[in-house]
Symmetry: none
Subunit: 194 residues, 4 copies
Amino acid sequence: MELIIDDRKRDTKLPAILRAALELFTEKGIHATTTKDIARRAGVSEGALYRHFQGKQELAEDLYITHLSHFTAQLDKSVLPHPGFRDRLEALVDGCFRFFDEDRTLFTYLILSEHNELGRTTKRVRHIRHLVRDILVDGRQSGEVREGDLEVFGAVIIGTILRVAVFRIYGLLQGDLRGQSKEVAEACYRAVGK
Amino acid sequence: MELIIDDRKRDTKLPAILRAALELFTEKGIHATTTKDIARRAGVSEGALYRHFQGKQELAEDLYITHLSHFTAQLDKSVLPHPGFRDRLEALVDGCFRFFDEDRTLFTYLILSEHNELGRTTKRVRHIRHLVRDILVDGRQSGEVREGDLEVFGAVIIGTILRVAVFRIYGLLQGDLRGQSKEVAEACYRAVGK
Amino acid sequence: MELIIDDRKRDTKLPAILRAALELFTEKGIHATTTKDIARRAGVSEGALYRHFQGKQELAEDLYITHLSHFTAQLDKSVLPHPGFRDRLEALVDGCFRFFDEDRTLFTYLILSEHNELGRTTKRVRHIRHLVRDILVDGRQSGEVREGDLEVFGAVIIGTILRVAVFRIYGLLQGDLRGQSKEVAEACYRAVGK
Amino acid sequence: MELIIDDRKRDTKLPAILRAALELFTEKGIHATTTKDIARRAGVSEGALYRHFQGKQELAEDLYITHLSHFTAQLDKSVLPHPGFRDRLEALVDGCFRFFDEDRTLFTYLILSEHNELGRTTKRVRHIRHLVRDILVDGRQSGEVREGDLEVFGAVIIGTILRVAVFRIYGLLQGDLRGQSKEVAEACYRAVGK
DNA sequence: TATGAATGAGGCTTCATTCAT
DNA sequence: GATGAATGAAGCCTCATTCAT
């Protein structure tokens, strides 16, 4: 999947830098990735990073904010139009899994990694967590979600989706995740639906 | 909760070092924690760590292996004696949540953190994941677990438990988690039970 | 005051570059001024400097030699025609102070700054120091300068002139310096005249 | 001359570091001196600097403040006890010249260098300038200083002293400066005394 | 001619670890 | 055993200069 890049920078080394950084941040974590690592993998001098970012930190934050915003927006668009809770749940799971299948590295960076390093930055972007909450609140109102703490239900849904992805990475599951969307959505629905 | 320490070292600076290291590793990650950080928080000199460990890495691995083994063993002991799937599930959730309530930092270090830094080390210890798998296999055999991919079901259970803990840390949930054990086990059971 | 520029280059970016460089060199020193600083303040690209100069060093030397030569020549012309020591002294002080008033930045760059960076370059240009020496030697011969080491007297005159300028920059003195020419020349005369 | 050093650090590398830094800062300026330069001349690893200072800047400021304060205090003590303006002037010039003779490098660093790099720091320490002002104000009150702007007179005195030192460094003057104290004080007195 | 991305050397600083005291 | 100064490798970043467009 192509990362989001300002058109004017299409023929600079920025795309290579972003992709290299993304991979390394995901593999080893932001802190453990050195600027030299990034430069080497991008096929670029270290100094080149600084034409596009103020520093490693900004690079990491930029990658995070830009792509998470984009992903969440897309997810909103494919989930919220569905009227019923059950369909929304399926769309949610499917949206996540398709994204995972398409760019596992990016998914991991945005959603699975912890990023203590990014500090407050991570709190300023809409996240699946918020979408799930919206879905649950609507579902409760429409009577499709059973009694119980909505935060706990949110944890069930998000926890399940993310852990399935983690298991896929560990190799405990195989093949494209989108093949499992139905089954995973079903499990979630059983857990929280009426 | 008191960390596990060789009796002969009870009155050295080791306990302080371990606790300081644990806190910092959990707060900032192993890589981002410096030996100076640890020394300062433990109230010892920088060189003091090296009388107890070969280096930072060994300290991190030691903490991990010792305590994770201990936790998993305890969990096995409180879960496996129960004969039925449903009770085991409840015991599992409750065991995890009690541990979380007792020492959130240690729980985070052992279970929630990612620890790319520890590499292969993390694979050499029995983990909740293995216990969950055992419970599910037994439950399938006894007919208490419905049709469906056991790996997916494992992801549901573990994902749910861990995400509830994460939500507690974020402050989305409040109070002791053990109060939620029943509700969380119920959700898991609905998701995978017959 | 307009900097000295080859007529053919009047409508290139050279004037802007020179002025920006002069200001920055004076404010922060040559070493601490980056080519990017200069480019930004001049409103040109980083590479643009290199069409007019071989590099930053040459730019700094060029500025120095061109303008110092010009200033010293002017000073010679306005000082030496006076026949008496006293009048020459006044003309000297006044010439310096007028220059200061007209372009304080340039005066600072040429006369007040230390320029370790310019190395030998600074020694190849006639300097006020030489003019002062000439005046004193003549004054001694004509009996207008009292007994005493002429080098020390030179230090008194130059030191006084420069320090007055420095005090003006610090804000310890106010207004145009040329208003003080008479008083300063008087002090110098008392110090070294018969 | 021995630099001022906390007793507890007498047998560390700090003295070597301070002396090396002082020499280099004076020779090439703070900015142009690299930490590697300092380490090499001090016979120390670069990292060693950071056991004693937060960074190069702090090292430069520390050197400046500590020693300038000390010098000015000494100068106050040897100048102010004299009751008359003339004697004070002589003591001032002599105090400066003795200091110059004893440690020319330190004198240059503290008094002759410009130190744009030190910014506001330089303004927080009592300086010869303040002492000169005090002397002149008293001298005016006692009727020993003639009519005229005291700031200008201050510039004459300080400018003269400093320029003599500069000329000594250039080699225009030779031998110990203290031999010239009387003559220089005389010139200053003629310039501003009654 | 002008731009600004890219380079590569080198600057400042950090850090795990060692070692003299 | 304990301290903390020192080391040296490595990390992040800057900068004068080059070069493709």
